[in-house]
Amino acid sequence: MEFFERFAVPNPNPAIYASMVAIVVVSLAIIIGLTYFKKWGYLWREWLTTVDHKKIGMMYLISALLMLFRGGVDALMLRAQLSMPDNKLLDPQHYNEVFSTHGIVMIIFMAMPFIFAFMNLIVPLQIGARDVAFPRLNAISFWLFAAGAMLFNISFVIGGSPDAGWTSYFPLAGTEFSESVGTNYYMIAIQISGIGSLMTGINMITTILKMRAPGMTLMKMPMFTWASFMACVIIIFAFPVLTIALLMGTTDRLFATNFFTTTNGGMDMLWANFFWVWGHPEVYILILPAFGIYSEVISTFSGRNLYGYKSMVGSMVIISLLSFLVWTHHFFTMGQGALTNSIFSISTMAIAVPTGVKIFNWLLTMWKGKIRFTVPMLYSVGFIPLFTIGGVTGVMLAMSAADYQYHNTMFLVAHFHNTIIPGVVFAMLAGLTYYWPKMFGFMLNERIGKWGFWFLSIGFVLAFFPMYITGLNGQARRMYTYSEATGFGPLNFVAFIGAGLMAIAFCLIVYNIFYSIKHSPRNVGDDPWNARSLEWATHNPVPEYNFARTPHVASSEAFWDAKKHGHELFKGEIEEIHMPNYSGVPFIMGVIFFICGFSFVFSLWIPAIVSLIGIFACMVLRSFEKDDGRLISVEEIKATESKFESAEEIKTAVSTYGGANS
């Protein structure tokens, strides 16, 4: 019995027990359902073993949406607790666990898979490739992410959640002040999914550099591909820092090393330093792909080419470099001198310049355009003013002397939600709506989508703008409660209402998915949005080989050229297509990584060692495996293509979606 005691939750409450029951029930339901409908084989053949970038992208997307709900429920609990002074909904320990989980889930397990979803789905299509450079590695990346996410998400029912914040500053996160296994989960789950992210970065860079369609020079790549490229450059330079920092943190916790302790030569400030050397670039890893999506959406729905393509690319390259030069702005108040703070203050403000260039270029893209207010465009139009506010408050925070007053307050919390929600989350929802037909061949309902947008935007403003004020009024972040005398009550209540509206918005968005699966007309054709770049030059949903014939490209808007200027995209005859084989190894490796991680969390050394050996065995096996891929015959391709063509004819010339309701 003693052995099992370690798995008990240290600070249980009824909600946690209820979740345990719910988890067991849902898992059983899934298992029974799969067995009853005889879907195990389908699941294994089509999804668990897939190396197809589109399917992997969809799996990332589903995970991101699930995690959005997990993090969203956490957020609601936090806002509910703070809605009134001296509220007793959550005790401090649970409040701490909930906000730590919320931050980590949202950044690592929601935003990251969301951007990876679109990188996977769109980048190969935008450059006219058949898959990514290393399809199997891509599957491994996904399963590592999934293993990390699963591991992190079971923490609250087995052993306890992390409770030292998403930043996990030492010594608070050390064994002295954080005894439960929660922070072990933090270190190891993020480590596992971080390795996956690093491999995705390498994979995407190789894909973009090596697999572009004939004629597509770097300066003729669509903007989302450029954005993904730059984000991946940041990934491969930033993530190794996180890997090492987490490793040091893990050994500090499990093997009593002294990297970040305050005694025996350890240095707690070093963790903060490492964390932000990764952490600041990380926020740009999230925002750059979002910028890419906005560029595509704004250009499409303004009916115009993107204004200032070169300065758009240039500003991203500069951002990718500058993002490594500013990390100290997260700890201006750690005691370094005025000189250091001045240097980092200036470098931080400098990032606002290329960011501003992008904002003005989007505005100028609308200039002389023909703007259609579809759901993706609404998100983009909402993004511009809201993100500008987030950006300028960033500049305010960057003024280090003033930051002594903003730091650790709700003002800071307002800033980063103001950049991440209108920046990243809006972009992901815009991308979801925009690329939905690309993935599934039908559209999401526009009316419900617009309701979702309005609830989300208004909810956002109500939820976060009050925080700027309470922050300046002295409300520190991460306080589980406050007294009535502080006067924070009314504004926090407004914030709670805002959070509620946002929750409704997310429910509407999911409802929209179900509604559209049921009611949306199929056969929307290949170009439902009157789009411009290469990913729209193939069918919806995309056949497994992406393009029947390799496209030839002459500008960043190859598809537009083909539609309007008679550019010949596809030359020559259909030929056999070489595709990679599916493989079960990535999934199995994911499972082993999960077991390994779990064993490390609880210091179960025998399973830990066995599973480590298993991981290496998988890698060795792979290097001796002979896998030439498979060929898709010309007949098969022609059969698939003709199916799409007849569908296209049925559709008849229905006017472009969104044209009518602007």
Binding site: L209, V233, F237, V241, M267, M269, L270, N273, V277, L321, F324, L325, W327, T328, M334, G335, Q336, G337, L339, T340, I343, F344
Partner: protein, 93 residues
């Protein structure tokens, strides 16, 4: 004959032996810490460059520019991070 004999590689091999010996000398001689460290760092980085260029064939394919850009970018970021951290924790604390 000239094309067949890998002059560059053999030269590189000899050069890396020399670098190793220089580094070894540090162990046997009685240099002050800064001198010893400088020698070790310089030989280590030259060694890495020799390996990269001669034996890992950086720059011999069409990706040469990409590889060198990458390495340069990496060096810049590493230097910035190290100098920045030193600035925070040592020079200006």
């Amino acid at each position: 004959m000239k094309e067949l004999f890998p002059v560059k590689q053999v030269g590189g091999y000899l050069f890396s032996l020399v670098l190793t010996i220089v580094a070894l000398i540090v162990y046997f001689m009685d240099f002050s810490f800064p001198v010893a460290m400088t020698i070790l760092l310089v030989t280590a980085f030259v060694q890495a460059a020799v390996q990269l260029v001669l034996f890992m064939h950086a720059g011999e394919t069409e990706d040469g520019t990409a590889i060198y850009t990458n390495v340069l970018y990496g060096i810049i970021i590493a230097m910035v991070t190290i100098i920045g951290s030193l600035l925070i924790f040592v020079w200006d604390m």
